[in-house]
């Protein structure tokens, strides 16, 4: 009897839990961002580079320039329910919740390289929840987190900007990825600042 119960439990577990997934993504900056005790006006950007290395992004600003360092960890937990029967057993209905652990460190320097201001953000963010119907053998991220990943090829795609939709192409000069018009934290909504010019 006990054996039958155990078999039934395992069978039930296989039916119900089919497709549970844990997805983990790290975007490493190589710095711990613990070194945020810099004092304004007494630190030069050479010292910041010596301590932390090159920033994730930098930009010219009116009267100076700015660095941003980022360290991101994305976790997604999926719970899937599989169907039974000829067709349905190859599909799973998945529900996912995704969280982001973010550490961002921003430096702003004057044109001589002296530190004007520094700010550290440490946060845990809920990136959202979602659901999807997937093939049972597929493990795919449901919540899109691609905007949190730097792309080494971005810089090589400048020519393709000429083929962008007109509102975006006309505002290429305000693009936040060129290093000439400011910078933003990864994952910033397109409904604010320069991106609104792109009418996205």
């Amino acid at each position: 009897m006990k054996r039958r119960n155990r078999s039934a439990s395992i069978l039930l577990g296989c039916c119900v839990l089919t497709g549970c997934s844990s997805l983990h993504k790290e975007v490493q900056s190589g710095v711990t961002l613990d070194q945020s005790s810099y004092e304004e006006r007494s630190v030069h950007y050479h010292q910041v580079l010596n301590d932390l290395g090159p920033p994730a992004r930098l930009t010219a600003t009116p009267g100076g320039f700015a660095f941003i360092y980022e360290d991101l960890v994305v976790d997604e937990l999926q719970v899937g329910i599989g169907g039974r029967g000829n067709f349905w057993e190859w599909l799973k209905l998945s529900f996912a919740g995704t969280t982001l652990e973010r550490r961002s460190l921003l430096f702003q320097f004057d044109q001589d390289g002296a530190l004007n201001s520094v700010g550290l953000l440490v946060s845990e963010e809920d990136l959202g929840k979602g659901g999807a119907l997937q093939i049972i053998v597929q493990v795919k991220q449901i919540v899109d987190t691609s905007e949190y990943e730097d792309d080494a090829l971005d810089a090589a795609r400048w020519g393709a900007s000429l083929l962008d939709p007109l509102p975006k192409a006309l505002n290429t000069a305000q693009n936040l990825n060129t290093g000439a018009s400011g910078l933003e934290q990864s994952g910033t909504t397109t409904k604010v600042g320069q991106h609104t010019l792109d009418m996205q």
Binding site: S21, L58, A152, T178
Partner: protein
């Protein structure tokens, strides 16, 4: 004998669901090679850096300086696909080098990222 069969069956079931995915993008991180030049602040020029490392990933104009930014990205993913549980992890590592030049094109400061990717010579 029976034990061997069970071990074999278990290995087949577990290893059938293993995945691995590695990839690189960006410029070659020649600055990590053994033959990388020694940069001298006040002496090295933009031409020296381009001759040695090639065109940068990004060239940024500041008010008083020009920045050459080199970036190489490594994607490393591992996964385990089982009957009732799947696990996948991906790590993105960036190897960066940055050079600052004054208006005369002479090096004023350079820096490498704290984390480094091994240099692999192109064939």
């Amino acid at each position: 004998m029976k034990m061997m069969k069970w071990i074999g069956l278990t290995l087949i079931l577990v290893l059938a669901g293993c995945t691995s995915d590695n990839g690189y993008s960006g410029v070659d991180n020649i600055w990590r090679s053994a033959n990388s030049p020694v940069w001298e602040v006040g002496a090295t020029t933009e031409t020296d850096v381009i001759d040695a490392l090639g065109p940068p990933s990004q060239l940024i104009g500041l008010d008083k300086e020009t920045v050459y930014y080199y970036l190489r990205e490594e994607r490393k993913a591992r996964g385990l696909l089982l009957l009732i549980y799947n696990w996948k992890t991906q790590t993105l590592v960036y190897d960066r080098a940055i050079f600052f030049f004054n208006k005369k094109g002479v090096l004023t400061k350079y820096s490498y990222s704290l984390e480094a990717l091994p240099y692999e010579e192109a064939e």
